[in-house]
């Protein structure tokens, strides 16, 4: 019982220690506050939004005992597809062009998710390998669609969506992410779909014996993951008024780190959406914090890499303890 308490507290401890670390650094080195600064908070939340969106999708997959490595380039692929479609409709009403772009992109980005699900659920390819292959496919397709360059979009509504702050305070991408977080939390914690996701991760055999359609469920999980990557791609394109195939490249590591910092187990069966939210905030604080205290940005990769290893090490030792030292 104590173990479960530690499990739920540890992401908060991580968040707290990172916040204190940068607060102290900012005060000592620059005599300024890191956290008590509206611009910084807005920046951290905006930084966190994209890895968090990817992280939510992959939280579902990881709870069910899988992994999805294709999300970063699925996001870039979606960004490029969205930018290409929307800008090719430049002669239309901007709202119509935007809606067609959004719907078409979300449908197209489901295809890599469906293929992932089919490879894993239907052909029993290990998730790590199947989605690694899709990582390459989505990456290649993204650059092919974009012809190797960044695709600009000139759509005034999209520009507004990407840059407006509601009440001058909350960036719209952050608001969209917050709404999606609540929906995902609801689905995972209150519905049968969520319950079966945990059951499959806990004991696939038991889930099968209970009559759960594990194949169909697994397929849906990888489609959800791709759907969130698509949404992240849309938001990226809105923020920068352009789509780039490499948009999500650094976010794969960030998003999976967020899930594990958030307390999900690499072995499946546990994890929570709010854990992933905290994990994404930790990553964003590390990244923005390093920029803020003027450390070279390349240290970010190193820091996030170490954080991922620490998170999985903690998970492993927790699992060992809960298995009675086995």
């Amino acid at each position: 019982m104590k173990l479960d308490v530690i499990r739920s507290i540890w992401p908060w401890l991580f968040l707290l220690s990172m916040s204190v670390f940068f607060e102290v650094w900012a005060r000592l080195a620059y005599d300024t506050s890191f956290l008590f600064n509206l611009f910084n908070i807005q920046s951290i939340l905006t930084f966190a939004a994209a890895p968090l969106l990817l992280g939510i999708g992959v939280t579902f997959v990881i709870i069910a005992g899988g992994i999805d490595l294709s999300i970063g380039f699925a996001m870039g692929f979606a960004a490029v597809v969205f930018a290409t479609i929307t800008s090719s409709l430049g002669g239309q009403d901007p709202l119509v062009a935007l809606l067609i772009g959004v719907i078409a992109t979300m449908l197209i980005v489901m295809v890599p998710g469906m293929i992932n699900g089919w490879l894993i659920a239907g052909l029993h390819i290990p998730p790590f390998i199947g989605t690694l292959g899709m990582y390459g496919v989505a990456r290649g397709l993204g650059f092919i669609v974009a012809d190797g360059v960044t695709v600009p979009v000139n759509n005034p509504i999209l520009f507004q969506l990407g840059t407006t702050k509601i009440f001058g305070l909350i960036p719209i991408p952050v608001l969209i992410t917050a709404i999606v977080v609540l929906i995902a939390h609801f689905v995972l914690s209150q519905t049968r779909f969520g319950q079966y996701t945990y059951a499959i991760g806990g004991n696939r055999e038991a889930a099968l014996r209970a009559g759960i359609n594990v194949k169909r469920h697994t397929l849906l999980l990888y489609m959800i993951s791709a759907g969130f990557a698509g949404l992240a791609g849309l938001i990226y394109t809105a923020r920068f008024s352009a789509g780039a195939a490499q948009a999500g490249e650094p976010l794969l590591l960030d998003s999976i780190a967020a899930v594990f910092i958030g307390g999900a187990s690499f072995f499946g069966g546990s994890g929570r959406i709010f854990g992933t939210v905290i994990g994404a905030l930790v990553i964003a604080i590390i990244q923005f914090g390093l920029v803020f205290v003027d450390v070279e940005p390349f240290w970010q990769f190193l820091a996030v890499g170490i954080v991922i290893i620490v998170a999985v090490l903690v998970d492993q030792s927790r699992t060992r303890i809960s298995n009675g030292g086995k």
Partner: protein
């Protein structure tokens, strides 16, 4: 409630079962004994719908039984309890008992959500009806925190809640400590009073003699002995298992 008539089963050239007949009454506990490869597993797999017999027939509750899958058998009330296969360790007691058949309730009239209160309440009731003691504080914990015997009991409660009439238990006391073994045997006793038919496979003669009413001994796919527990002895059972 169950009748097996002249069932044979081949796997390639191997005759796993040879003209086996047996029967089971409601509220009766039948032990299946025999050395490895005697045909015990094949027999229970035929009863639970995993395999179909080559020849011979089965009847269940006075109807011919043709279960083609474990799911079909389960829908008829024939449930097999396997050690450690049945539970999702990361879910709590109620979630396991109701897995795949969760009670739902309305959420703001918009959608359906899992009724966890009801799962907890009904789990408590079914555990209570079987005299299974699980502390209130553990009911909402992942079942991995419970003992092997408690988990076994939850798997059995799950079957009973969903109206199992015939329970097949494969080595229910293996991998349990002595006090836990005793609890499982008590539970079997309780199930008997509720008119559940039980077939259990065990290597442990102490358990067989403590819990069952009747014993069926298989050797090389044939029935080599059948008697009431009160009319046989350990020595006799062992000699039948070894030399038929």
């Amino acid at each position: 409630m169950l009748e097996v008539n002249g069932v044979s089963k081949h796997f390639g050239g191997v005759k796993a079962l040879n003209n086996v007949s047996m029967n089971l009454q409601a509220g009766e506990v039948l032990a299946l004994a025999g050395d490895n490869g005697a045909g015990k597993s094949t027999l229970i797999k035929i009863i639970s719908g995993v395999h179909a017999p080559d020849t011979g027939s089965l009847a269940y509750q006075d109807q011919p039984l043709h279960a083609n899958s474990p799911l079909q058998a389960r829908n008829l009330g024939i449930e097999t309890i396997y050690q450690d296969l049945a539970l999702a360790d990361n879910l709590d007691v109620g979630a396991n008992i109701f897995l795949g058949r969760e009670p739902m309730k309305s959420f703001l009239g918009m959608t359906q959500i899992i009724d966890r209160q009801r799962m907890l309440k009904e789990s408590r009731e079914v555990l209570h009806s079987l005299d299974i003691e699980i502390p209130e504080s553990s009911l909402e914990q992942p079942v991995r925190n419970l003992s092997g015997g408690q988990r076994q009991a939850i798997a059995i409660s799950r079957a009973i809640y969903w109206n199992a009439k015939l329970l097949i238990m494969d080595e229910p006391t293996a991998a349990l400590g002595v006090p836990e073994q005793r609890k499982v045997l008590e539970l079997i006793d309780k199930l008997r009073t509720q008119k559940i038919g039980i077939i259990f496979i065990s290597h442990n003669l102490n358990d067989i003699f403590a819990a069952s009413d009747r014993i069926l001994i298989l050797r090389q796919g044939r029935v080599v002995g059948e008697s009431k527990i009160s009319e046989t002895s350990r020595e006799k059972v062992v000699s039948q298992m070894v030399s038929g």
